[in-house]
Symmetry: C2
Subunit: 109 residues, 2 copies
């Protein structure tokens, strides 16, 4: 399972944003986030981890620290440890993100 | 510099594969790798890091451990610590990859 067809790893739900895990190790996890219109990942922070969102499809409003920017497919937002970050899909289309974070707080080394 | 237009971060050179850094922290780096036809990143391993290649454009031959697979845009290969990995562009078009690795051996925490 070293190879993944990312476009097949998508799952949407009407109640909330879906996270589809692609792989996980103690050093890093990689997910696909799938947001229907109106869904969001609320701003939050990780004290010790670096994370990025890469837009695969659609347009989202991304917050990192005190900055907010609209990003579309081919654009990326990253948050360093302690930087507040979040994303919301205020568009009328689906938003799909490739997301990686390291280290992985859910898997012990 | 929390936001990056990845499609603008490309640089090719005739002598070897180019790496364009998007961001780096002690926990993770993220690069764009740009391979002209015939260029490669030779198989190698990282004892303590997890890494992935996500294909943005083109087609490459990816090795992870003892497995080799052709991947095109929208597909991903990942290598856990100690897994040999590499990529070669045996196609007649350019190959562009989004690459992340954590932790980052080049930046101390």
């Amino acid at each position: 399972m070293s190879f993944v067809i990312v476009s097949q790893q998508r799952r949407f739900a009407p109640d909330k944003m879906q996270k589809v895990n692609l792989f996980a190790s103690p050093q890093m996890f990689c997910d696909v986030y799938c947001l229907e219109p109106g869904q969001a990942q609320k701003p939050h922070e990780h004290a010790n981890a670096t994370k990025f969102y890469y837009v695969l499809e659609g347009t989202g409003e991304f917050q990192v620290g005190d900055r907010t920017q609209m990003l579309s497919a081919g654009q990326l937002a990253f948050a360093l440890p302690g930087e507040i970050h979040g994303v919301s899909n205020a568009s009328d289309g689906r938003l799909v993100l490739l997301v990686a974070m390291g280290p992985n707080p859910n898997v012990k080394g």
